[in-house]
């Protein structure tokens, strides 16, 4: 009797949730793959994949996109690791962490918009450059500005997993390493860094995948000079209306995502993206 009751309870719970999984998780991905086999006139074809893998434009775009995502991730990592490390040494790490995460609650578009003002011809960044004697430069719509703004937006998402890894590191390991005569650098490269590597990997995963698809930044800040996979998908879906080709690039992006997740290990826990979920 109780088993039966439990079973009926199960199905009742599951109806809306299973519907969601079917309709909004499985179906859209399958439809995207299905769509990638159709050309702009709605005929079944492999031409999209052929075009993609034989056209130097598409291949160069993909390489560029991965390269920029790599640069963004590297810049973010270089800034975030020391930040996370130093956070852990402060008296109130939770408070500092909250302050680092808070900017993620501000709409991304507004942050991008702020940089349009900061990097503009007579903006505050150029005023500063003139002040220190370098003179004004074209900052907005350059590759540099794209990487800078993307890294700016992603820093909190990198700091959080690294901080979590560092805060779990037992200080006794560090002490043991020092007692055994290791220098600071040896302690860091042989003990601290390897032990916090899972956090670094989680951070790379949280930053690299979105960096492949930040189309709004390439438009607003990069001035269409940088074309990422995300920009190409947006272009094909909403401007040229070639959904087949757009879906093909989408499939490539999904494959790239799977490879990155495989390299960085474990299922993505991007719910840390919003922070504060601890």
């Amino acid at each position: 009797m109780q088993r039966k009751q439990r079973l009926s309870r199960n199905t009742a719970y599951f109806v809306p949730y299973s519907l969601w999984i079917l309709l909004f998780v499985i179906a859209p991905v399958l439809l995207l793959i299905y769509q990638s086999f159709f050309n702009i006139d709605g005929q079944f074809t492999f031409a999209n994949y052929q075009t993609y893998f034989s056209s130097s434009t598409y291949l160069m775009m993909t390489v560029n996109s991965v390269w920029y995502a790599f640069l963004i991730t590297l810049a973010t990592l270089i800034i975030s690791y020391p930040t996370a490390y130093l956070l852990n040494e402060t008296k109130h790490p939770q408070l500092w962490l909250l302050l680092i995460i808070m900017p993620t609650w501000i709409n991304l578009l507004l942050k991008a918009y702020a940089f349009i003002g900061i990097f503009s011809q007579a903006g505050i960044a150029n005023q500063f450059l003139s002040f220190i004697g370098i003179g004004p430069k074209q900052l907005l719509f350059t590759n540099f500005s794209f990487i800078f703004v993307a890294a700016y937006i992603q820093i909190p998402f990198m700091v959080l997993p690294i901080y979590n890894a560092i805060s779990e590191l037992k200080p006794s390991y560090v002490n043991a390493s020092r007692d055994l005569g290791a220098t600071n650098w040896q302690t860091f490269s042989r003990v601290i860094f390897p032990l916090t590597l899972p956090g670094v990997k989680a951070g790379i995963q949280a930053v690299f995948i979105p960096s492949l698809s930040l189309f709004m930044l390439t438009r607003l800040i990069g001035g269409n000079k940088v074309i990422t996979l995300g920009t190409a998908i947006e272009e094909h879906f909403l401007t040229t209306m070639n959904w087949g080709m757009g879906s093909t690039i989408g499939v490539v992006l999904i494959v790239a995502m799977v490879i990155i997740m495989w390299l960085t290990g474990g299922s993505g826990k991007r719910h840390t993206r919003k922070g504060l979920t601890k």
């Binding site: 009742a12 949730y17 999984i21 859209p28 130093l86 918009y113 702020a114 998908i233 959904w243």
Partner: protein, 270 residues
């Protein structure tokens, strides 16, 4: 020596901190500037805020965004909570892990993929693009975060509690409404808040599925920002900054409440 090193550390943290906040403060400061560029501060004025409140189109978009956020997070919370209960009730580990993996797909997928695939999906089902499609998308991408927030709360709940209620003659509905839901309420609240911020923050998915007639705040900011500087957006960012603060503080208090609640329960158990 140690004293000096300590200062260097703080300097680095302060620098990161300043870089993170400078653009946001910059935006808000210029919302009070006379003139219409973000270059020199021309003196204090409220005029951009007056423009903002006189802009009925923008206010309508703001209300639409809020409506979408509230409706989608309410529905996502309901579906997500039921889903979390269902996942918790599964007996075989394989089923559970598969469900959790499926749950996480929308969390790791890039926004562009979610947007594009939802666009194909809505078009295939002939669902008109607009309010309905945006609402459905927001519900869809908010459900997994609700599940992830509620699930730990359910797992924390001891089964003897449920058995006791069932032995005392509670039917399914009473079990759910009077035992389970009150217990996991803090998790449900955090899920709701996260869903709310996901919905308010989203740009990319909405941009794909919004069609021509309907706009949310993020999409509107994007199209205005593409046309260049407009200090009305700065005023808007001032207001949204305030709103984000309110949300953060609200979330902080809910967390405080739930951790206090948890220690209470633990204390009683002892």
């Amino acid at each position: 020596m140690t004293q000096r090193r300590f200062k260097w550390r703080n300097l680095y943290l302060w620098l990161v901190f300043i870089v993170l906040y400078a653009p946001i403060i910059f935006l808000v400061v210029y919302s009070f500037s006379k003139g219409d560029t973000m270059t020199n501060f021309h003196g204090f004025t409220w005029s951009h805020y007056q423009d903002l409140f006189a802009d009925t189109r923008l206010i309508a978009i703001f209300l639409d965004t809020l409506l979408i956020a509230l409706l989608s997070s309410l529905l996502a919370t309901a579906v997500g909570t039921l889903g979390a209960l269902g996942i918790n009730n599964t007996t075989r580990p394989v089923t559970k892990n598969t469900l959790l993996a499926l749950n996480n797909i929308l969390m790791v997928s890039p926004d562009v993929i979610i947007g594009a695939s939802f666009l194909i999906f809505f078009t295939a089902l002939k669902i008109p693009l607009g309010f309905g499609s945006v609402l459905l998308s927001h519900i869809a991408f908010s459900i997994p975060i609700v599940v992830l927030m509620v699930l730990p709360k359910i797992q924390e709940m001891s089964t003897s509690l449920l058995d006791a209620a069932a032995d005392l003659g509670a039917n399914n509905w009473q079990l759910l409404s009077q035992v389970i839901v009150p217990y996991i309420m803090p998790g449900i609240f955090s899920g709701f808040f996260m869903a709310l911020t996901y919905s308010l923050d989203d740009f990319a998915v909405t941009f794909f599925v919004t069609g021509n007639g309907f706009t949310t705040l993020s999409v509107e900011i994007y199209s205005r920002a593409r046309q260049g500087i407009n200090l009305e957006i700065n005023a808007l960012s001032g207001l949204m900054f305030l709103m984000a603060m309110v949300l953060v503080i609200g979330y902080y208090f809910i967390n405080q409440y739930s951790s206090r609640h948890r220690t209470n329960v633990r204390g009683r158990r002892k």
